[in-house]
Symmetry: C2
């Protein structure tokens, strides 16, 4: 018998993060950087205006107010995207240039006066907006009255005030989320080196399995594991492929797995790992894998847990692709996925936290929960963060998928616990 912790440690010991690849920014979302990204340009790349207004020389507007405005000659527009005034002109004494947010401060100018502190070139009172260039092209010329003085560098964002060449933009190990993608784009990076999302192939086994939507005949049930685990793999960050249920025939299963290896970073099977006479995964995989290679081949184990006792783990094929063979009961396979496969996916991605978060909660139940001695039990529950309580949902049966769909947490009863009274402080694994 292996403990849950021993089994997980054995798996994680064998799994190496995927080789990094260079990806376009939009493909890198959610992935882990493997390089320190250094900044190669200044941000902003040039001194620029933080307001829509007028670029001026400060001496010209000293002491200006509404009664005695400074009157300046407007010599042109500096639009965002231009590199200064037309014809490389500079702002001279008594002159101003209309400037837009983000546009470069033109030569000669020392500060920006927001349009709201001027008459906007209208000859009237304080402006609350600039007239758009297309409606009023004459706004780029004529005169402007400035109603307030500003200090040098006012409303100017200095070149490099955000980041400078040689700065560390993002360190290796960072997860690439939306703001990180924004920063990478802003410093001109169109690609980054990250560990890719693992490709997970999910195969359910069992001659009793029928695809949902088809007719259910005697002795058969609908395949649910391949659907639930494919969704869970996506949820964990993987690219997941669902392979239809395979019948209980060792040759067919072996051929299917070998076929799928080309697109698999992990193979997950469900069913056929127990002690029965038709346990096809065990039969098919005990004789597969290049046993010459250390760590190759699949090892079938009994785990000191409930549900989920029978489990297989190993590697398969020329690339030693990790394979996890999970039990076939829907609840067992889902819990096994959360405990063992999710950590593998996240380890392959190079993420630091591979496990679901856990909390302590007070057991909210009418009667004591029982648990088999020497086995770690995982019961389904609903967690109430505000009350700090967890309430069991449904019973312990590993076929109770109706209750699983109402749960958002797993209640963990340790190996040495055989009975947990109402009010007991309990470990809870959060599933959302």
């Amino acid at each position: 018998m292996w403990s849950v912790d021993e089994h997980l440690a054995d798996i994680l010991e064998a799994v190496r993060p995927l080789e990094p690849i260079e990806l376009q920014l939009h493909d890198a979302q959610g992935c882990v950087l493997v390089e320190d990204v250094m900044v190669e340009i200044a941000l902003p790349p040039f001194d620029n205006s933080s307001m829509d207004g007028y670029a001026v020389r400060v001496a010209d507007i000293e002491g200006a107010d509404e009664e005695f405005p400074a009157v300046l000659t407007v010599i042109g527009d500096v639009a965002a995207g231009s590199d200064g005034l037309p014809g490389d002109r500079a702002v001279g004494p008594g002159e101003a240039a209309r400037i837009m947010t983000g546009a470069p401060l033109p030569a000669g100018a020392e500060a920006v006066v927001p349009v709201e502190w001027t008459d906007g070139g209208t000859g009237g009172g304080p402006a609350d907006t600039m007239r758009s260039l297309s409606d009023a092209p004459e706004g780029a010329g004529g005169e402007v009255r400035v109603h307030r003085p500003v200090e040098a560098r006012a409303h100017v964002r200095a070149r490099g005030s955000d980041v400078k060449p040689g700065d560390l933009a993002l360190s290796a190990g960072s997860v690439v989320g939306p703001p990180q993608i924004g920063l990478l784009a802003a410093i001109g990076r169109s690609t980054v080196k990250v560990r890719p999302r693992p490709r997970v192939v999910v195969i359910s086994t069992g001659s009793e399995l029928v695809q949902p939507g088809e007719e259910l005949t005697g002795g058969r049930i609908y395949d649910s594991n391949s659907f639930a685990l494919t969704a869970a793999a996506k949820d964990a960050g993987a690219i997941a492929y669902r392979v239809g249920a395979v019948t209980d025939d060792a040759d067919t299963l072996r051929a299917t797995i070998e076929d799928q290896l080309i697109r698999a970073d992990i193979v997950v099977t469900t069913g056929g790992v127990s002690v029965g006479a038709y346990d096809v995964v065990k039969e098919a995989l005990s004789s597969v894998g290049d046993e010459d290679e250390p760590g190759s081949g699949i090892d079938f184990r009994r785990l000191a847990m409930q549900p989920g006792k029978p489990q297989g783990f190993g590697s398969i094929g020329p690339d030693h692709t990790p394979l996890l063979a999970l039990p076939g009961n829907p609840v067992s396979s889902y819990i096994s996925f959360e405990l063992f496969v999710r950590p593998v996916i996240r380890a392959l991605m190079g993420l630091p936290d591979v496990n679901r978060p856990t909390v302590q909660a007070v057991l909210d139940t009418d009667k004591a929960l029982t648990s088999p001695s020497g086995r770690r039990q995982f019961l389904r529950g609903t967690y109430d963060a505000e009350a700090g309580t967890v309430t069991p949902v449904g019973g312990a049966g590993s076929h109770l998928i109706g209750a699983l769909a109402r749960a958002d947490a797993l209640i963990v009863l340790p190996e040495d616990v055989t009975s947990a009274e109402p009010g007991t402080d309990t470990e809870v694994i959060l599933l959302r």
Copy 2:
């Protein structure tokens, strides 16, 4: 001036959840159900074995122990997927059938004895496994010694003990996650009716914008908004399309938006909404939209917030597609997205919680933070859940995208706060 809350309320008031569609299970992941899903079959569909073992009549094994085992004639196998014993045979007195986990309890049998409580048909001591059918076909015949009695119905999962026809499987409003997908598949549903993911078209505007990876010439900057907001839209649950930056030309922008409407449930633009003479979004969209229709057309507003003062909101085109025109500074546009666009995406999906979670935290800073009177300020910070503190990152400048990429929270300083001392209890919006 609109308050942040008024603007958001105005937006959410105008937005209706998307019309539901029938989707395959794997496409429905993360979506909200609009139907109560009722169960139409029993789960399990038939009485079945929860163990690998032998299906027996209880009277035959009464009082059995290892010394005096009950010796039964094995009359055949019941495999999972079969609908009983071959030839519709029943288990008669003195007989047993080998049975696999999940296989239907054959006629005549009353309970299942796990293989570990028998000799497994070997004639030896207690078995720890069944020999696989292919290795030992004779296991389906001969004799089995049973070492322990069981009660009627032992190790039998009763038909309908999980869910029954007429039960409510999932209620309208449920989010379809992996366990819900598992349940839907298990009850035979291959499709469900959900609200689809909204399609968000992100367009950045500005003649100064260059695509990352290209050469940066005078007065130009890299387009980062379209990258960051497309990623943020995906993160919020949307299908997001990034449209390359559009130059500051109203006709081009109008044509681009009209072109994109075919694939848009929301249009998001950045830049060109302020008071400048080149504010193309304002210019292009103030004259678009069928103003005959109530609520149509785009309204440009000033919000009592920092950053993010200028904002546009309205609907556009024949389908009255919501359009949010965000300011162009990278930090302003990102914060505006989180505050206004994310809630729209989630409202379109029919999710109950449209806003990011907020917490209270103690301000961990050396000197007081300042904030303009009458405006709600959103500063970037890092939140420490264990310590219950939040630490500002970088300054207030709306161009500081380097600091944004290191933040995981927004520090909210209310309208009436002009200074927040170290140690102040502060509202924090969690970004992860």
